[in-house]
């Protein structure tokens, strides 16, 4: 290149102003490892908070200017909404399959409604998950591989299997002959897969670096499972059922609500083993949602145990309380995880108290200057 050409002023590229790379595309080729990254504006994560006290190193409990050590999960509200919908779909599929095996003709109405709930829930759930993706058009990549180490991969395959099997079962409910047989097979398959569908989301959350989720890995699956039962039974109970079917649904609901309350206490216990880890379940938005969830679930349990005629209105109130409690719980756990990931001390204290790698491997890491 001649000297004159080098001194020429660079023409303003219309894309340069928004690209934030400051590369003159007439002279530089965009083929670096990060060049595929689409950029429109500055990152919002760059915003900072003003300190009230200067955070500095040293002392017994140091952090790096109180900055988070982890990245906050990027998931939107569609994710906890999916936890709720998917949990209900899974529990409904299982209850429907058990009723089908016991007495398909006798429980015809219940089996049909449970199948529809499973099919619709799986379909809506899939839509919610696609909406959460950063690149929704690539949702099919979820079924590109099967990776047992990733609960999200396992769950994607389970969801992809429940949706069509429950769908076939729902469409052929009450039919005889080949379609009926096909539907029964579908209902059975959806019922078996409904168990992991109702519970895998808790495994998915606990299989992260987020302190409060990782700490509750033993109790959270039980809470998510019982919560699915509570929601499925609450919603089924609002529909037209025979007296016998209504009794089935009510017993399923009562068991779910009792298990909800017990499991919630177990989750709190696991989280509170380290004070900073359990904090989001007691404070802030997540703490409020968590308390509301417990209150709603307890109210629905009391309502379902009170004597008297089981009118439709009563079943609707009862079911709404239970399903609402379950929904509040999913959002409480979701926001607790976000808060937990923002608090560097949650991570530091959890790992310093032996609940990090030590717990999983039985061996201590090198994590301090040598003594002396």
């Amino acid at each position: 290149m001649s000297e004159a050409a080098m001194r020429e002023p660079v023409e303003a590229d219309p894309d340069r102003g928004t690209d934030r790379r400051n590369i003159d595309q007439a002279r530089g080729v965009l083929e670096g490892e990060g060049s595929l990254q689409k950029v429109r504006g500055p990152e919002h994560s760059a915003r900072e908070e003003v300190w009230t006290e200067e955070p500095t190193a040293g002392g017994d409990d140091p952090t790096y200017y109180d900055r988070p050590v982890l990245k906050e999960p990027v998931w939107i509200s569609a994710v906890p909404a999916y936890f709720w919908v998917g949990g209900a779909a899974g529990a409904a599929a299982t209850l429907g399959a058990v009723a089908q095996v016991a007495d398909r003709r006798g429980f015809e109405g219940l089996v049909r409604r449970a199948r529809w709930m499973a099919a619709v829930g799986a379909g809506v759930g899939g839509g919610l998950l696609v909406a959460d993706l950063g690149k929704p058009s690539r949702f099919l990549n979820m079924l590109r591989v099967f990776r047992p180490s990733s609960p999200m991969s396992v769950g994607s395959w389970v969801l992809a299997a429940v949706a069509p099997t429950a769908g076939i079962a729902a469409l052929t409910s009450g039919r005889e002959g080949v379609p009926g047989g096909l539907g029964d097979a579908g209902g059975l398959a959806a019922g078996v897969l409904g168990v992991p569908l109702a519970g895998y989301t808790a495994v998915l959350l606990s299989n992260t670096a987020v302190p409060v989720w990782q700490a509750t890995r033993r109790s959270l699956p039980a809470l998510f499972m019982s919560s699915g039962m509570t929601t499925a039974a609450g919603l089924l109970g609002m529909l037209d059922l025979t007296e016998r079917e209504e009794r089935v649904v009510r017993r399923f609901a009562v068991a779910g609500r009792v298990a909800d309350l017990v499991a919630a206490k177990a989750v709190e216990h696991d989280a509170d083993l380290v004070r900073t880890v359990g904090k989001p379940l007691h404070e802030g938005l997540s703490g409020t949602l968590w308390k509301a969830s417990e209150a709603l679930t307890a109210a629905s349990l009391v309502a379902s145990l009170l004597p008297g005629r089981r009118s439709r209105l009563r079943r609707v109130v009862e079911g709404t309380l239970g399903a609402g409690g379950s929904l509040a719980m999913r959002f409480a756990v979701f926001h607790a995880g976000k808060a937990s990931s923002r608090d560097p001390r949650a991570t530091f204290h959890q790992q310093r108290s032996g609940h990090g790698g030590l717990e999983a491997t039985g061996r201590e890491p090198v994590s301090a200057p040598p003594a002396g």
Binding site: G32, G134, K135, M142, S206, M229, E243
Partner: protein, 274 residues
């Protein structure tokens, strides 16, 4: 539970970052941005010492941390009370048990022939599970892009037999690139040298599986002189999948419980009136 395929790893490459010679020039940050053609960080002022980068993220693959400590270095005195600077160029650790890779449901995150962890941008669908799975808060997702991004260990340069841009640009050799076995040997020699010179607090962070069992060792490890928390590093990080067994067992037990309850509810109502 590891999903890496060691037979595809031909060379084991990585970084040894010696924080005692880091001068905080940020040449690594700039070289990384330039080579990889990453966008800027928005030019914010954080008031955190000289650190206006803040953290690693989708388009920040090197980050220099600045710590102003009211503690003197071992064997040193300062004119105005006890004081010392700590500077550390942070980067993706390319863990042996990588939380991001093990969590990735699409197979977008792979282990390369250089034993590094690489995100394939044309496969990633932006599910965000890697971001929750990283115990170091390294990998990020830009809102305007939607995909997950992090340090590639300059995969393109490595394929052309060049060292990563950050290591190339580092004027003090604080960032050293090379074969892992070689780097570990050099790092241990450096720690021994520092100890003899009176910097008794020097130690290696994540240099091997023995040093950090939770991650199986880091392919980008560090020489530190204070607790990891001071540099915003977790003291005992763990790849989440190492604890997954308990969660799956708990789910199986709860699922069995749900089946029993369903059977009990159905059977107890079977004999009654319709």
């Amino acid at each position: 539970m590891s999903v890496r395929a060691p037979e595809t790893v031909r060379e084991r490459k990585g970084f040894f970052t010696d924080t005692t010679v880091c001068i905080g020039c940020k040449a690594c940050e700039v070289a990384c941005k330039e080579w990889n053609q990453l966008p800027d960080d928005g030019f914010v002022f954080t008031a955190m010492s000289y650190d206006n980068t803040g953290a690693l993220g989708a388009s920040t693959w090197r980050h220099v941390a600045f710590v102003e400590r009211p503690v003197a270095f071992g064997g040193q005195t300062t004119a105005d009370g006890d004081f010392s600077w700590l500077m550390m160029s942070d980067v993706c650790k390319h863990c042996q048990s990588a939380g991001c890779l093990e969590n990735c449901p699409t197979g977008a995150i792979v282990r390369t022939e250089f034993d590094s962890v690489y995100v394939q941008p044309d496969v990633c669908n932006g599910c965000g599970y890697c971001i929750a799975g990283c115990p170091f808060g390294v990998i990020g997702r830009r809102e305007d892009d939607g995909g997950a991004w992090k340090c590639t260990l300059c995969y393109d340069r490595l394929k052309g037999d060049m060292e990563p841009a950050c290591a190339k640009a580092c004027p003090t050799d604080s960032i050293q690139y090379g074969d892992l076995d070689d780097l570990r040997r050099r790092a241990e020699e450096r720690v021994a040298t520092l100890h003899t010179r009176g910097v008794r607090e020097a130690y290696l962070y994540g240099a091997s599986e023995q040093d950090q069992p939770g991650t199986g060792g880091l392919n980008a490890f560090f020489l530190l002189v204070d607790r990891p928390e001071v540099y915003n590093l977790p003291p005992d990080p763990v790849a989440p999948a190492k604890k997954a067994r308990e969660a799956w067992l708990s789910m199986a037990a709860a699922g069995l419980g749900m089946l029993v309850v369903a059977a009990g509810a159905v059977l107890s109502a079977r004999g009654g009136s319709r």
